[in-house]
């Protein structure tokens, strides 16, 4: 057991650090206390940042060299991620493209599609989004209703997607549609690459409960997609989507990175605020602080165990879902204690001097228990695929989708 890098890892990390220092001036970086930048207002800088990192060899670490990647390991990818965070570089503008869309194109795209898209994606010449969820199909993705109908060499798409991160700055998206409503729900789907600038595509920001708009709605109104932009065979869309979703799992609930605030930041906050409470309240507050810290450390060190699996060449399995559950729980505990420690300011959306770190996290967390797999869906996955418990009876897997059984 050793929390330090292996010699190889240490060397790689040093190279990453050197590259970051060298290009420091060209990179968008987060100010102290800032957690993210808004792609709406910083699109150009974000694209430039990814391009610079790409040219420095820090993008597409695990991708094959033939598609513009570095042919590296998952652990090298994790090291790059850690160093980017340490260097306060915000999430790359094409993180959805790299994490989900690109791997899907690699697995299911034609040679022509791979040539046209992948290198540009890594350089952020094109930004990508993922168009799966719909108003009537959230957890139950295969219940989607957006249709694609064959018309000569094209398909004509109509419908609505929702929860689409980055759609408003995207050039392309991978789009899951229903092409045969007479088949059972999982069997009638087909995946496409869609040009987000095509006529009939409308993107509308979706405002969340905290007031911010991290997501969009996307409307398709007689949008034409050439058949050459299909990913996989007609009716094989579900299998293609599973590739995407398996890659999503690698991305979320990750290896040793916290959901919400890092525990060190929480501890600093507690250090500043605890002494302002009266002594009995300090006793109670320390219980809440301790509980949150234990949860955060438990999630962190469990993440390190997953990272070790990567380090040894393993592939993350469904147990990674536990990382999101435990990380979300820790984030809830920290946010709640963080807000309460504010005393009188806890009833406002920000402190008197405008600081809203803890209130913002508080209002963002209910969404985290839902987005990217609800707590309930994650528990199903863990129960069935890790613990081996039997699944629920399913009545919807065989009936034709149009039969009303959705």
């Amino acid at each position: 057991m050793d929390f330090d890098d292996s010699p190889d890892e240490a060397e790689y990390r040093a190279r990453v650090r050197a590259a970051l220092e060298q290009h420091a001036d060209e990179l968008l970086r987060l100010a102290p206390g800032q957690e993210a930048v808004d792609a709406r207002t910083h699109e150009a800088e974000m694209r430039r940042t990814q391009r610079v990192l790409h040219d420095a060899g820090l993008v597409g670490v695990t991708w094959p060299r033939e598609y513009g990647g570095q042919g590296g390991t998952l652990l090298q990818q994790a090291i790059v991620g850690q160093e980017l965070a340490r260097f306060r570089v915000p999430a790359l503008i094409n993180h959805i493209g790299m994490g989900m869309c690109g791997p899907t194109v690699i697995a299911h795209g034609s040679a022509d599609q791979r040539d046209r898209y992948l290198a540009r994606l890594l350089r952020a010449d094109d930004v990508w989004c993922q168009l799966f969820s719909e108003p009537a199909s959230g957890s139950d993705l295969a219940a989607l209703r957006t249709t694609a109908v064959r018309d000569g060499e094209d398909w004509v798409v109509n419908g609505q997607k929702v929860w689409t991160t980055l759609a408003h700055v995207s050039d392309y998206g991978i789009l899951l549609t229903r092409t045969d409503p007479e088949k059972p729900k999982h069997a009638g789907l087909t995946m496409f690459v869609v040009d987000m600038h095509a006529p009939g595509v409308t993107v509308r920001p979706l405002r969340q409960m905290g007031g911010q708009s991290d997501f969009n709605e996307v409307f398709f109104d007689d949008v034409r997609i050439p058949d050459s932009e299909r990913l996989g065979e007609p009716g094989e869309g579900w299998r293609v989507a599973l590739t995407t979703l398996m890659n999503e799992r690698v991305t979320i609930g990750g290896a040793g990175t916290a959901i919400g605030a890092p525990v060190e930041e929480f501890a600093e906050h507690a250090k500043a605020r605890l002494p302002q409470l009266d002594p009995e309240r300090q006793v109670l507050a320390r219980q809440a602080v301790g509980r949150a810290v234990v949860a955060a450390l438990g999630a962190r060190y469990t993440g390190y165990r997953r990272l070790t699996v990567l380090s040894q060449g393993g592939i993350p399995g469904p147990e990674a879902s536990a990382g999101k559950l435990a990380g979300t729980e820790a984030a809830h505990l920290m946010a709640d204690a963080g807000v309460r420690l504010l005393g009188d300011d806890a009833v406002y959306a920000a402190t008197a001097d405008g600081e809203d770190r803890w209130q913002r996290t508080q209002s963002w967390l209910p969404g985290i228990s839902i987005a990217g797999g609800t707590d309930q869906v994650l528990r199903n996955i863990l129960g069935e695929r890790v613990l081996g418990l039997p699944p629920e009876p399913r009545l919807d897997k065989t009936a034709p989708f149009s039969g009303g059984q959705r």
Binding site: D140, L206, Q208, A346, A349, D356, S363, P366, I370, Q376
Partner: protein
């Protein structure tokens, strides 16, 4: 044994429900976050007689028991009505010896707020943001005065929270500690009643959605994870209703029980409303955490109310102290 509302109270509740549904809504609470006016507003509440329910008849009120006010408050809470009836209830206790001021409270001609904490710089206080006359506790004395208002960025706009510095003060009652404590307990009961209304509404809306929404070929309410979450929230609401009724009843009929009952109700309200609102969001999935859905407005109210008039920890501590000193009887 008759632990239920009587016919009068049922009528009052039905009337209040109709009024609040017609004159307030979560949509107004949403608009309030961007500067919109609060609904139904002080004047409408006064016109309905709600501000004076517990004000004596001689002072222009209805002289009714707190329980009547609590059933009205529950209906207001269900639609996130503002301003809160907490101020009316609390001020009515404090102004028992001031019929002229009490009349201005009841008819809505003066916008009162009751200040928590020191009058030199109060804690965030309910509906202080647009009040013109303030009641506060100043070195053991009840004072009334005007003040300078410092609002914060609202988490829940309907509570009209602001910190106030009194710029003038006149003593109304010299030795007011006990009166003040009772008024705060009464306020806690009314806030618990508003939270009851909010929590109950969360369960209703969540149940309705779970009855309709389908996933994986079944209505989501058929899944135990969803069903049991809603049931637990509902069981909590039922316990809260019992404690609110008991506390409101005790205020008029067994004042010695009020401190324990008020703290029990307020502690239960804090946890119950927060859970019900979180459940409402979770049951809705994605749509539940959008700005346009009402769920976060209940959630915001819950996040704020749990800390006002004493948080759960303060009231649990009070319940424990009172229980071990014999407040439950032998």
């Amino acid at each position: 044994m008759n632990f239920d509302l009587d016919d009068d109270q049922r009528d009052i509740a039905a009337g209040a429900r109709d009024f609040f549904r017609g004159n307030a809504s979560p949509a107004a609470a949403r608009a309030g976050l961007e500067g919109g006016a609060l609904e139904p507003g002080r004047k409408a509440l006064a016109d309905m007689g709600f501000l004076g329910i517990t004000v004596p008849e001689q002072a222009g009120g209805s002289g009714r028991p707190l329980l009547d006010l609590a059933v009205v408050a529950e209906q207001g809470g269900a639609v996130l009505a503002a301003p809160s009836l907490v101020t009316a209830a609390r001020a009515a206790v404090l102004l028992a010896g001031e019929p002229e001021l009490a009349a201005r409270l009841a008819d809505g001609s003066t916008a009162f707020a009751v200040l928590d904490g020191p009058v030199e710089r109060s804690a965030p206080s309910v509906d202080a943001a647009d009040a013109t006359l303030f009641l506060g506790l100043d070195g053991g004395a009840l004072v009334v005065g005007e003040g300078e208002i410092v609002p914060g960025r609202p988490l829940d706009a309907t509570r009209g929270l602001a910190s106030v510095r009194l710029t003038s003060r006149r003593v109304l009652v010299e030795d007011a500690a006990e009166l003040w404590a009772r008024a705060r307990q009464v306020g806690a009961v009314v806030m618990a009643a508003e939270d009851l209304g909010g929590a109950d509404r969360c369960v209703q809306v969540g149940v309705a959605y779970a009855q309709e929404r389908e996933a994986f070929g079944r209505r989501i309410g058929s899944y135990q994870a969803v069903k049991h979450m809603l049931v637990d929230a509902w069981v909590g609401v039922e316990q809260l209703r019992s404690l609110v009724w008991w506390a409101a009843w005790a205020a008029d009929n067994n004042p010695a029980e009020l401190p324990l009952a008020a703290s029990a109700a307020k502690a239960c309200a804090a946890a119950t409303f927060e859970r019900a609102a979180s459940t409402l969001i979770q049951v809705h999935g994605g749509i539940g955490f959008t700005w346009e859905h009402d769920a976060h407005l209940f959630w915001r109210r819950a996040k704020v109310d749990r800390l006002l008039l004493g948080d759960e920890a303060e009231h649990l501590d009070a319940v424990a102290r009172l229980a071990v000193s014999g407040a439950l009887g032998a």
